[in-house]
Each structure stands twice: as structure tokens, then as C-alpha cells.
Amino acid sequence: MNRLAIPKTYKLYIGGKFPRSESGRVYEVLSHKGDFLANAAKGSRKDARDAVVAARSALSGWAGATAYNRGQVLYRIAELLEGRRAQFVDEIVSSEGVTTAVANAQVDEAIDRWVWYAGWADKYVQVAGNANPVSGPFFNLSVPEPTGVVAIIAPQGSESLLGLVSAIAPALVAGNTVVVVANENAPLSAISLGEVLATSDVPGGVVNVVTGSPAEIAPWLASHADVNALDLVGAGDLDWVELQISAADTLKRVLPPESGADAAAPALQRILAFTELKTVWHTKAIL
């Protein structure tokens, strides 16, 4: 007797839960050959809005965690990614049409990159912060702090998992919370990453994954007054100048689109892009 295969429903990841789109819409995710792979939720502007609310409420907890703790939590995600390797490889092979070896290499790279960023969590402040010299009996200290809620348009090209990891990991390091619009054509690794995050120590709402059309959702995130920064790394095919203009209305930090093989390459600058420098004065102790 033939067994009936049970296909998986891919849903959104918002506030630590896996809801369907409030719009009820789904779209077909196809393999590189054009075969049906899965139905993914087609997120709407209201899903993006809910994701921002979740990200905002998770912010104080995540930003308030010690840098050492954030580093541990992020490192733990890398461990879990390793444990789910087979699933990620499988999804990459079917949706990107690459060999298992290439897919394995992409997962390797994604995990390594995650670990690399996790290591920065308790170090970037020492590099980017400073004790400024001043002409008086004061300490003058500059320290970077997280910007807040970061909306990210994930890279839309090949290497779906690596692109996603390269975009969200640096924003998380400093204590920002993230709303990411996944790769439209290859969203499966994004949802699976959501499942990894849900079973890790990352509090719900710190990372929110919305699948669907970036062209539809991005303008709402760019103009949303409760989003503090916008990473347009994967928005090269969108009208990204318009997105930058509407982001400017509410004074968001914006990163421009990147393309090519070294798009969103690991760099300290990606972490610092979503930090604000706070400078404080303090009297020197009288000894």
C-alpha cells in the first residue's frame, strides 16, 4: 500500500508563534525546475504590522540582556543549525537546484558566519566605544547601543540561507530586534530558520519572519513610524530609492541594497550600522 505523503505547511514566524497570514493568502513555492514544492504564507501589510508590534515588545528584553548572554544565545542558534543541517541542505537543493555538496557548503558558511557574529556580541562595544579625552576632571565615554526595531529585506538571489543569516545576525548582535521579509522565491530556509529560533533561547519577537512579496510589504515597513532602521540589502530589484525616501520621513537608519557574490559580507560595519553612539560624562573619583 502506498503511503500518502504529508506535505508541510510553511507559515509566518511572528512573536515566537507560527501564524498563517491574516489575509489568508498563500503562494506556491516552486523548485528551480518549476515543480511545486510547498505553499508558503503570502504575508500582508498587517502581518508586517503585527511583526513590528512583536519586535517592539521584545526589544527591551533583548537589548537589556547582557552582551555575554546575547552572545551565548546566538551561539546556541549555530549549534541548532548544525543539528538541522539535513533539512536545510534538502531545502536548498530542491529550491536552488544546486548539488548536495554546494548546499552543504552554503550551510557550513551560514553556521560559521553565525558563530562569527555571535563572538562579536561582547566585543564590538570595546572596539566601537571609546573613553574620550576631555580637558577637565571628567570621564567622557562613548558606547554604542542598539538602534531598535530593524526591518530587513533579505537578499533575494541564490544562497537563500546564507543571505538571510548574513542580514539578520549582525542586527541581532547589538540587541536590535528584527522583522525580516524573506527571499520571495526561496522562503523555505527562512521558515525553517524560524523553527530553529523558536526552539532556541531567543525570546519570541526578537526575530520575526514574514514571507511573501517584498514589493508589497517593504513600503509599509519603510514608512512605519515604529521601525527604527531599514536594511535594504535585498531590495535591489525594488524601487528602493522610494523606500529610502519614505524611511527618511521618520529618520530611520538605512542600509542600501547590495548585490554580487560578496553581498552582505561579514563585517563589523554591519553590526555598527544599527547602533547609536551614546556619550556620557562622569566625574572622576576624588581619591
Partner: protein
């Protein structure tokens, strides 16, 4: 909101005619227990059904402005200061400084000792004695009294509490019923207390401050009790029935409010008198508030959606409504940075 219609309204005589005798425990019990019971499952299903209506675009815009105009902006904390009351009043008068077209709230609701501060802060915008002319919505001052929120004090203290607030200029008094007496079946005592408080609402010029009777439905346990308490409060002369103090969970819920609206509807059919309803506590989002508007319109009719017949007792609701309003005005989502922190 003047008390003039109330001057000719004689609840005592009406109540006595209805219950067929003096307002004794026995008579009231016979009357209140003779009221048909509530089908709890049906009530909750009806409330849930009313909550599924889709209110969009121009209807939503109307609903949002209506909600703002029905809010009793409330601060009832032990840490209230005159400064806090002043900033509450400022928000009541200009809820959204970025949009002068935003309507004012109906009233501010404070503890009795803060009434003076609220009246001073309102100045010419105060409902009673205010000088702002027609076309400008004036704001009322509501005071909670009668040993709010527990109501556990002697009658003399409760009445003094009410008189103080009225003398300080309160337009509306939110009293709590004695839930202990109600649950023990001493309906006569609850009735007499409401009548006495109503009398204590009398100002020196003979007019009455509006009386809202808080049932504290979260402590009444059953819908049947809520219905009986609603009847009791109306029989005794309450101008408004209010769900909760906001200090007890659960506070206002849609089924409870629906059951109270049904009593108000029945009372209107019986006597032609319109009684107000005020759900308070636990209503935090515009979405929730819109469900209440739908429930009111469907149960007693749209004419109840005016400040002298329906209010929301809320503090955080206003901010959420303002965010929705900004979204509709600007076309993009707003955030908590664009409303005041209360």
C-alpha cells in the same frame, strides 16, 4: 449633560410600583429573582458574533472619532498627583497635538480629592460653569467615590466622600455598590445606599450630579447576578450602570456589557427612560472598542452612542485609538513614540 431630565424622574415611585411594595430585602428578592435567567452560552455566542463585524475605511474613521468622544480618560492610582491630573486634562483637551481636528474625550475620571485639580486645569473647557461656547465640546469631571474601589466603609463615610467630590465641582459620580451586601442577598441595603448616594449628588442649586453605579461584575460571579444588579441599580435611580472599577480582573467583557445593555433596552421599553452604560477596565485596543460600538448599536440602537448614554472607562485605550487615527490620516503606520506616555 445636565441633570434636568432627572429632576422630573422619580425613581423611587417607579421602583416601588414595579416591585409592588416597599424596597425591602424580601420584595426586592422576589422581584429580582423573578427576572428570567440568562442563557450564558447564548449570551457569549451572541457577543462573539457581534465581535466579528468588519468595520473598515469611512466607518472605521467614524468609529474612531466616536470612540474618542466617548472616553472617560482615567487615572486612578495611589500615586496620582495634581501634576499628573493636569497632564491628563491636557491630553483630554488635545488628544493628538499633531492634529487639531481630533475630538476631545467626554470626561476625565479621577479620585475625589483630585477633582479640584481637574476642574482648575480644565478652566473654561469644564462642562459645568465652563465658558467655551457652542461648537466646542466641553469636558466633564467624573469622580469615583463611596470608598472606591472596595466600597468597604460606613454609609456616612461614603456619603461624605460623594458630597466632597460634588462640592469640589464633579459633574459625575462613579459609585461602587456594596458587593458584599448584594451577594449576601441584602438587596434592600444596596438599594437604599444607591438612593442615599443619589441624594448626596445634589448640588447647592438643587441639580444633581450624574450618578454612575459600578457593579464590579468581576465579583458578581454569574451573568444572572449582573442582570439583577443592573436592575437594582436602575430601580434605585442610577443614571449609568458601569461594569467595573478596573481594579478587579476580569473587568469589562463584551458578554457582560451586552447583558447590561439588554437590561437598559428593557428598561427603556418599560419606562421610556434611557440609562447609560459604561464598560470600564480591560478595553485597550481600538479593535476591542469597535466591538463595543457594534454591540451598543445592535442592542439598544445607535442613539446610545452619545457621551450621555455610553462611555468607555479607559486609560491606555486612547493611545491605541490615536495610533489608528494617525494611520488613517497619514496612510502609514504610527508608533508609540508619536503619542504621549501616560
Amino acid at each position: 449633560m445636565t441633570s434636568s431630565p432627572m429632576a422630573t424622574y422619580q425613581p423611587e415611585r417607579r421602583a416601588l410600583a414595579l416591585i409592588g411594595g416597599e424596597a425591602t430585602d424580601a420584595n426586592l428578592r422576589r422581584y429580582l429573582h423573578g427576572i428570567p435567567g440568562i442563557d450564558a452560552v447564548g449570551l457569549e455566542a451572541r457577543a462573539a458574533d457581534l465581535g466579528t463585524r468588519s468595520i473598515k475605511t469611512s466607518s472605521k474613521r467614524w468609529a474612531i472619532d466616536t470612540i474618542i468622544g466617548l472616553i472617560d480618560l482615567t487615572t486612578l492610582e495611589g500615586a496620582d498627583t495634581p501634576g499628573k491630573v493636569r497632564s491628563l486634562v491636557a491630553k483630554a483637551l488635545v488628544p493628538d497635538p499633531g492634529d487639531p481636528g481630533c475630538p476631545r474625550v467626554a470626561a476625565v475620571c479621577v479620585y475625589g480629592d483630585m477633582v479640584g485639580a481637574a476642574v482648575t486645569a480644565l478652566g473654561s473647557a469644564h462642562a459645568a460653569g465652563g465658558t467655551q461656547g457652542a461648537g466646542v465640546q466641553r469636558v466633564h469631571v467624573a469622580a469615583v467615590a463611596t470608598a472606591f474601589p472596595s466600597g468597604r466603609a460606613s454609609l456616612a463615610i461614603k456619603l461624605a466622600d460623594v458630597r466632597d467630590a460634588v462640592a469640589a465641582g464633579a459633574d459625575e459620580i462613579d459609585m461602587v455598590i456594596d458587593r458584599g451586601a448584594f451577594l449576601a442577598g441584602r438587596f434592600g441595603q444596596v438599594y437604599d445606599e444607591i438612593v442615599a448616594v443619589k441624594e448626596a449628588c445634589r448640588r447647592t442649586d438643587g441639580t444633581l450630579a450624574h450618578l454612575k453605579v459600578i457593579l464590579e461584575t468581576g465579583e458578581l460571579n454569574t451573568y444572572d447576578n449582573v442582570r439583577r444588579a443592573s436592575w437594582l441599580a436602575i430601580l434605585a435611580g442610577g443614571d449609568f450602570i458601569k461594569t467595573s472599577t478596573g481594579k478587579v480582573a476580569p473587568a469589562a467583557t463584551l458578554p457582560v456589557t451586552l447583558s447590561m445593555l439588554e437590561v437598559v433596552r428593557d428598561w427603556h421599553r418599560l419606562t421610556g427612560v434611557r440609562i447609560g452604560v459604561k464598560p470600564a477596565g480591560g478595553i485597550r485596543t481600538s479593535k476591542d472598542a469597535i466591538k463595543y460600538l457594534v454591540t451598543v448599536a445592535e442592542t439598544v440602537g445607535e442613539e446610545w452612542l452619545t457621551p450621555h448614554l455610553f462611555r468607555f472607562g479607559a486609560s491606555s485605550l486612547l493611545n491605541d485609538v490615536l495610533l489608528q487615527r494617525q494611520k488613517m490620516t497619514t496612510g502609514h503606520y504610527s508608533g508609540p513614540d508619536y503619542v504621549t506616555i501616560d
